[in-house]
Symmetry: C4
Subunit: 277 residues, 4 copies
């Protein structure tokens, strides 16, 4: 990707920011990664009221430092990219903007507490850096297996949702007179999801024997049904793994054109001809 | 499915309602799907007391619109079908009736709150529409895998239930003196199911050391035992996937047009002709 | 198993009780199954104080009827069996005795509440009946897969326990000063098991940030670790299923003695000879 | 490992402590295993205040006995080992020291309650003994499968953590005004982990409809996502199991004694000699 032609400073910025095979590119990614993690930790600590009370000054100024650094980065991206408009309205463009803007907005709208947390979206920027790193090869294989079973999983989730709405409504009929938290159908559906996924908070729990009987059925259903997404992904991965294995170990025999050999094979196992490697 | 003969209006209604390969058939399905979803959302909102207080009028009249539309559809189905009696007493016939009748009944039995939720059963009608849509191919494969492991899963659920009854009774003996919620055996069995399926509400939780020891055993049991349904479905799906794959790697025999051959086959295994590759 | 020789009455009783291929044998099993289920339901209802208050008389007399029937069965088993001593001290012998004795003991020790629940052990007798029924073929295959992965699962459970003891102790150090329920190491270990198995009652929950950090690690560990027993059983079952498949579909070619043919093969796919079946 | 040369007493101690194929070696391992388990039970009981109140004397003196025995063992290990320094700073060296030192420290720092629990780390020493025992063959296979899918699992855990931070922050924005426990972002992230892993304590639970909607999404996500680590390990194990199987179906080449052949091999794939079967 790096040519021997003299590069413009815009190309240089572009290569530093968007690529990871040059030294400055790598350094940029590592520093950005560190900055994102630090800024997330700061955002988290700021939300802890006891910590914020003690170290408010420190948090405030470090936040400004990070905001300014991110702003510079944002502008650099805007300049170096060929089509700035496309970048601004792209997914990562919006995330980048949301990562810098809350501090500036806090000047205008004083006391906007909830804007703090918006900065946590900065973490999403980590994914962009990771995309460039080699170790994502593993995650790619995961993605392929997931994508292959996407349709099956969508059907499954849709089915789960319908079951939860129906069961939630049934539980509402049974338990709405009780003081057990089934105050509306949406809440009951929420409870059904909590139960079916085996999370089980206990903030809403059936009080009547009939309600408990039906929840037992939901639980066993949920317990059995978890086998389905697992089965889908497992079988998809097993298949993928087997295919890869078969396709990696191939040499072709010069005599009989047999192409299925073990990795260590030196002679064709169908005709005895040397594989001559 | 569509012939060139001139069709009676009953056949036309039938094709519109029950089939999805004509344009009006597709339109009907999409509209019905939207109506069901809208009506479910309305039922849900109606059960939220704050929302109902504000928008009672709106909810009441929209509900009547939907009820009348569903009634027309019910009558149309009744007319167009060959054996109306069979339809009335079929699973979907009953669901269709239950989807329309609560509003009419609310005239007679004033203040029947719980009838509201009965209307949530309308959601089941979604399954009928989905049956016609192509994307259910995926769900069909799921169903085949599930059906193949049906017997194994039934044995498993039965076994889980027996274990829960026995463990629930044991916990009742241990914990019934305590104030920890094990007030009767059915309740203790309910607790055992809540625990074994790893839902864990916490509305009932053991208080004695012995009770906690036994629950720990139940939990680890449940944690290990979840492997079983998962294992069943996974292996069934892997098998299914492999079979399908075998049928994909095919050559066609020039003599008998048989297209199912093993990968290493050199002769057609149906007629003995050389596959000549 | 049934010979044409005239049988003694003891042999007849034996065959009725212990075998299921004669008509009286089948009838006996069905009646016994029904009796066990009824008696369990009665035991359950008896433990529900409201129900017991209303129908105490009915429950008391039905319990006596069942106890007497089970006593007769126990004596019949004792007489018909060749080595009564061995039967008495066998697993099912003890269960059978425990199923009948509580009512007789309630004469001697008045007000022994907890003996009620002991009768729930009757449910274990169901397993004996099921052993005879054909549908257990499925459960047998499950058992084979489980037995094959027994050693792996034992290692896994042992490992889980050690991890829970260590993590429980660590949490006790951190949280024992708080009022969050970590009052002793055994209780903390109990909590660790509740958390690792993703049950999560919430009766004990960490209150300190450090405690919550460590619990988060335990949870993610538990979430990842559940993959292990599932993986073990899945792979074992896939293997078993593949073996069965391979071993079922075999004919040998008369010409080249190739023994791997597809189910529908009529000609050998290695040499083209007719399989002549 | 045992030679016929006369051994020094240091070598003898070494063999007893570090090896398990001599009689004293085996005896040592069994006694050590028992001592560790006993000492752990004692540490646990000591933390139970009621038990400690009654049997304080007994616990105190048994603890001293165990501490002295462990100290002797520690010194013996130190003497017999070739490089004592390396041992002291090795993982097990530190664990061994931490297993003995708390009692001595309790002389100096009186009333150091939390040191009690430190002794629970003794349990880790069990792993060293287990390493020597044969039954760990099974656990080794587990380890191999886990190590093979290590990278995939790391990616997965990292991804889960990022998702939890983002979702936790979003929930903080939504729920921080409510009295539902989302008091800071770290706490909300803790909640997100509790929910995604389907543990669900219920100490923190969403109170707003929007919060419940988002939690429902997290739950279903978590429920579906559990399929991923399971799929990874399952496919890895199935592959491992199949590979092992392939290595079992073997013939030995008469020429080069190669014993790894494919099932259908007719010629040795290492030297080209006909396998002549």
């Amino acid at each position: 990707m790096s040519t021997s032609k003299p590069k413009s400073w815009r190309t240089k910025i572009y290569e530093t920011i968007y690529e990871a095979d040059t030294l400055p590119g790598k350094a940029f990614d590592i520093i950005l990664f560190a900055l994102i993690i630090i800024s997330i930790v700061l955002v988290m600590l700021e939300s802890v009221t006891e910590f914020d009370a003690k170290h408010h000054e420190f948090l405030y100024y470090s936040e400004w430092v990070i905001t300014i650094l991110f702003s510079i980065e944002y502008i650099a991206r805007l300049i170096s990219v060929k089509r700035p408009k496309k970048y601004i309205f792209s997914f990562y463009g919006i995330i980048d903007l949301l990562s810098t803007i809350p501090m500036y907005l806090s000047f205008i709208f004083v006391g906007s507490q909830s804007l703090i947390a918006l900065r946590a979206l900065r973490l999403m920027r980590v994914f962009r850096i990771l995309k460039l790193v080699r170790f994502v090869g593993e995650s790619n294989r995961l993605m392929v297996a997931l994508r292959a079973s996407r349709a099956k999983i969508a059907v499954f989730v849709f089915f789960i949702l319908i079951v939860c709405v129906i069961l939630g409504s049934v539980m509402y009929i049974i338990e709405s007179d009780q003081d057990s938290g089934f105050t509306s159908i949406p809440r009951s559906v929420y409870w059904a999801i909590v139960t079916l996924t085996t999370v089980g908070y206990g903030d809403i729990a059936p009080a009547t024997p009939l309600g408990q009987l039906i929840s037992s059925i939901i639980m066993i259903l949920g317990y059995g049904v978890i086998a389905i997404p697992t089965g889908i992904v497992s079988s998809e991965m097993t298949r993928k793994a087997q295919k890869e294995e078969i396709q990696t170990n191939t040499q072709v025999c010069a005599n009989c054109f047999n192409s299925k050999h073990k990795d260590e094979a030196e002679f064709c196992d169908q005709c005895g001809t040397s594989l001559d490697r």
